[in-house]
């Protein structure tokens, strides 16, 4: 039951990215910089690191699908980029779970990879012709700062929660194994 909290939180963040965050976005107050929030995706990366590549990959595909249908209108861009990034970062497990700093750096690095992938695909398809330098200074760096701040705030409680889930899983597995063994013995 408690596992359902994860998709709920991701959906909530996904909605906030497009609605509340856009109402208070910096370009409303006359700023050049554009901040791309990747809050939901940060969640997905951390989930991939803790719960494995398969679970994380499924989360990434579903989140990407939502992003594509509702915001981008070009199917496939986010499904591919998010799955690819999450899967790639899924290889870095064990050490990264123990160290909070490494976890934060990995998640922020993930948003960086995702933004570059999305920019690359948009550039290739011809939806945008933004120069790389402009992309770097006006979009990537400001959003990197905001996403890092979000990750630093969320890292500790999220890690706690995921470790708790992992432990739950282990306990369940053990119980199941015992049951099995018990049956075998009989």
């Amino acid at each position: 039951m408690i596992r359902c909290l994860l998709p709920f939180f991701i959906f909530l963040l996904f909605i906030i990215e497009g609605t509340v965050f856009q109402v208070f976005s910096p370009d409303r107050f006359g700023s050049e910089a554009i901040i791309i929030p990747r809050f939901a995706f940060i969640f997905v990366i951390v989930i991939t690191i803790f719960l494995g590549r398969t679970t994380g990959g499924i989360y990434a595909i579903v989140l990407g699908l939502f992003q594509d249908v509702i915001y981008t209108h070009v199917l496939g861009i986010y499904i591919f980029s998010m799955f690819f990034t999450a899967y790639l970062l899924g290889f870095t497990y064990k050490i990264f779970q123990k160290n909070l700093y490494l976890l934060i750096i990995t998640a922020v690095f993930g948003t960086l990879v995702l933004d570059y992938l999305v920019y690359g695909i948009h550039f290739m398809v011809g939806i945008t012709n933004l120069a790389h330098e402009q992309f770097l200074y006006e979009r990537l760096l400001p959003s990197l700062v905001v996403n890092s701040v979000f990750m630093i705030i969320i890292a500790f409680p999220l890690r706690k929660f995921l470790l708790f889930l992992q432990k739950n899983d282990d306990v369940e597995e053990k119980i199941n194994k015992r049951k099995k063994d018990f049956r075998w013995q009989r």
Binding site: V20, F24, G30, Y71, G76, I79, F91, I127, R139
Partner: protein, 292 residues
């Protein structure tokens, strides 16, 4: 670390890249009426989004009100000065409108390109990565919204409806970089009307580009630009902006003008969707087809 490029993974990667290209090709083609799963997703998420966005707009509005209160006195004085002119203009407009109606009656003209009705809608989302300039509004097919309708704020034109689902629709702003994002416009010059197309947006100056203006047309800085209604979908006379500067285009055959948009694209809370009163081209063609 496990070996990354094992055979199986390589194949999966290649297949997913092929799928990516196919999906992008599918959605970039000119199909653009949404399939029903997409509509369903957009509608159900849109409902959640509107519950989130209403309080957000309210709070943002509160801040803006505080900001406005600071120069209230100054504004009030200017507005009072304008109000004196207003009474005179209102009388003049009334007289002209009556005269226009009588003349139209005499000539048996029933509809003009100016006719339109407005439908207010709440902005429910904006794409968080600004690769495209799309916003979502909470009125859809069930409320009578159709693709390509004009969308305005109280200050002027902001875009057109890009696609509709049952209860929500997506609006493409004028600032979007899509090549098909083109609107037939005209400059209200001294005594003639100069026609052109609004195509593209210049990010450095924040100006819209008015292209394909006749080379010998006389345009001056400060003249107003409105929709021409000749595109067949928009009504005539929706305000777009003011001419900022004029230059010859790269081949010297036509002129380009930079237009300062009168509407702001940054703080969109409520928009108005414009339904044209005069029959659109497609409707006329359909009727002709049935008549044959």
């Amino acid at each position: 670390m496990p070996q990354f490029f094992s055979n199986k993974r390589l194949i999966v990667l290649l297949v997913s890249i092929i799928l990516l290209v196919a999906l992008i090709g599918y959605s970039m083609s000119d199909r653009r009426s949404l399939t029903w799963p997409e509509q369903f997703m957009k509608d159900s998420v849109g409902w959640v989004q509107s519950t989130f966005n209403k309080p957000a707009h309210y709070v943002a509005g509160l801040f803006e009100n505080l900001d406005e209160m600071r120069n209230l006195y100054e504004e009030n004085r200017i507005l009072k000065a304008h109000l004196d002119d207003y009474a005179q203009i209102a009388v003049e407009v009334n007289v002209l409108r009556r005269q226009n109606d009588q003349l139209k009656e005499a000539l048996d003209i029933e509809e003009s390109l100016f006719d339109h009705e407005l439908k207010p809608a709440l902005v429910i989302h904006r794409s968080p990565d600004r690769w495209n300039e799309f916003i979502g509004v909470n009125k859809g097919e069930q409320h009578g919204v159709e693709v390509d309708m004009a969308v305005i704020t109280s200050k002027g034109l902001v875009g057109k409806v890009n696609n509709v689902s049952q209860f929500t629709s997506t609006v493409q702003l004028l600032t979007d970089h899509d090549r098909t994002n083109r609107i037939s416009a005209m400059v209200d010059a001294e005594d003639t009307e100069v026609y052109g197309f609004i195509e593209g947006y210049d990010e450095q100056t924040g100006a819209l580009m008015l292209r394909k203006i006749e080379a010998d047309a006389k345009i001056e800085v400060g003249q107003t630009v409105i929709t021409s209604g000749l595109g067949g979908i928009f009504p005539k006379g929706l305000l777009i902006g003011e001419v900022m500067s004029v230059e010859a285009d790269e081949y010297g055959l036509t002129k380009n003008a930079y237009i300062e948009p009168s509407a702001s694209f940054h703080n969109l809370d409520y928009v108005l969707i414009v339904k044209r009163g005069a029959p659109t081209i497609e409707a006329i063609m359909l009727n002709d087809g049935e008549g044959d």
